[in-house]
Symmetry: C2
Subunit: 295 residues, 2 copies
């Protein structure tokens, strides 16, 4: 009944944000079958209690329903597998283009730091001190496992810099694979940062203080990097993998990327109107155009 | 830099929530190509200003980069089309099973109201008065357009009830199709509710008051139903279409569906630990197991 809470709660299913355009993700669908559908639906065990007070007809209908759900889950699984195969096929096809893109990016000074600082979500976790570190970032690469369900890693290459010895920082996201093929708990791990004396250790100490002060909240870029948040719901990783990586150029060219570009056009207007759109009274009962089928 | 804001902001791209497991949605990918990639990338116009202070090598690299992005977008589009075809194929295959499921559901009294009230997100917008209305709900159906990008509708069938004359309420979500095939602005529309005198008009008036009081927030079931929120980001519609509809049985059997089921097992523990997991200090520099490639 807490309606105000609703808007701030994204719809999650097993920790996976839902995308309406393609229904449940393949990964989600596979999990659903294994975890949700009672495996032995011919038996009475587990589905409804024998003392649930339901009459026989209702109980029979529920078991029938359960069988249809198993059939639907079976189709979901088949669809998920076909979709994963397509994704894997195109991941392979994109690889050589990404490789050529990397060469071109290498010719543009401070490309990646500019891109990250222009990204509306990523820049929110970059602390002032961290911004200077990012100016040494010369390479970003997302490598997916051949089976995309197994995971991916984010590799960041740095020039020689006063903060740490490492020339490459890697954060690995093991997504656990699919339940059907032997699911394991999703985990992350990351390169141990070798902070340099002076500027490096000063930053390390400063970040420790910031992180301690903001206990319980996502704090800074390196907090994200070294943290082990469940990769099933890591919005920073999402932003890197699904938004920055597919098209960093739009963030290089425009602060806020598409969001800002759109505001210059007309498209955004509709979404802005929507914000003030809860003049619900006039909406009640005066809605448009759908003919009723009955009556 | 406002790091606390970050966690409460889901990652949106063009108003579409991102799902990490399959990259951008097909719809999103198609939009990306059309809107983001300058259409005439051989020309100097638009991509970078001639007075941007960039040297020639950098400008050339940016144009080269733009061409690679166009190639990537082209592959994204092809992948999106193949994925949509699979989704449409399986939507057809699922239809007869859904039809049989509906017959079974018809034998279980108050199935849909129980399912909706047990759903952790949907029950948040059901007002006490509306809960009684839902007890007359006897049928829920999601119908997708043959081309899933065009949209879908949610049909709700009601028994004769003291609130309104309508036996069916329909909310239509026109998603606008794909940009490549002539995109139009997404819109919604819904059946005009014919409130009955007495209990019906009392409820109508009460809802109007509630909605007015909570101006600017999502308020109630009927506010959602009659409202015209952009269907690109309608979480209630998402919950119906992508969560309730694929498997209502789990919500019939368990309050909170999977979430509650899981808490009884061990799986949930990891996610709960994660909540208190920002003891960032000890994380800084002590992370596990990734070997560096250099050094």
């Amino acid at each position: 009944m807490n309606s105000s809470a609703f808007l701030s709660v994204p719809i999650f299913y097993q920790g996976v944000k839902m995308s309406k355009f393609q229904g449940p993700s393949p990964r989600k669908m596979m999990r659903r079958e294994v975890e949700e559908i009672p495996s032995d639906s011919d038996s009475d065990d587990g589905l409804v209690d024998s003392d649930d007070g339901l009459d026989k007809e209702t109980r029979d209908a529920i078991f029938e329903l359960d069988k249809f759900q198993a059939e639907i889950a079976d189709l979901d699984n088949k669809a998920a597998k076909e979709i994963l195969e397509i994704e894997e096929k195109y991941n392979e096809t994109r690889k050589p283009i990404y490789a050529k893109r990397e060469v071109a990016i290498g010719k543009v000074p401070t490309f990646w730091s500019k891109v990250i600082m222009n990204h509306p979500h990523l820049n929110m976790i970059i602390d002032d001190e961290e911004e200077d570190v990012l100016s040494f970032l010369v390479k970003v690469e997302i490598q997916e496992e051949d089976n995309v369900e197994d995971g991916f890693c984010i590799k960041m290459g740095f020039n020689d810099n006063p903060y740490f010895e490492n020339r490459e920082l890697v954060k690995v996201f093991q997504l656990g694979g699919s339940l059907l093929d032997g699911f394991v708990e999703p985990t992350t791990s990351s390169t141990v940062i070798k902070w340099k004396e002076g500027k490096g250790q000063d930053l390390q100490k400063k970040l420790e203080e910031i992180i301690q002060k903001r206990k319980g909240e996502m704090t800074s870029f390196f907090d994200w990097f070294t943290g082990d948040k469940n990769p099933d719901d890591d919005q920073v990783a999402d932003a890197f993998k699904d938004d920055l990586w597919p098209n960093p150029l739009i963030y290089f060219l425009h602060q806020g990327g598409m969001e800002e570009v759109e505001e210059e056009g007309e498209e955004e207007e509709v979404e802005e109107e929507e914000e003030d759109d809860s003049d619900g009274i006039s909406n009640l009962g005066r809605n448009e155009s759908v003919e009723e089928e009955k009556e």
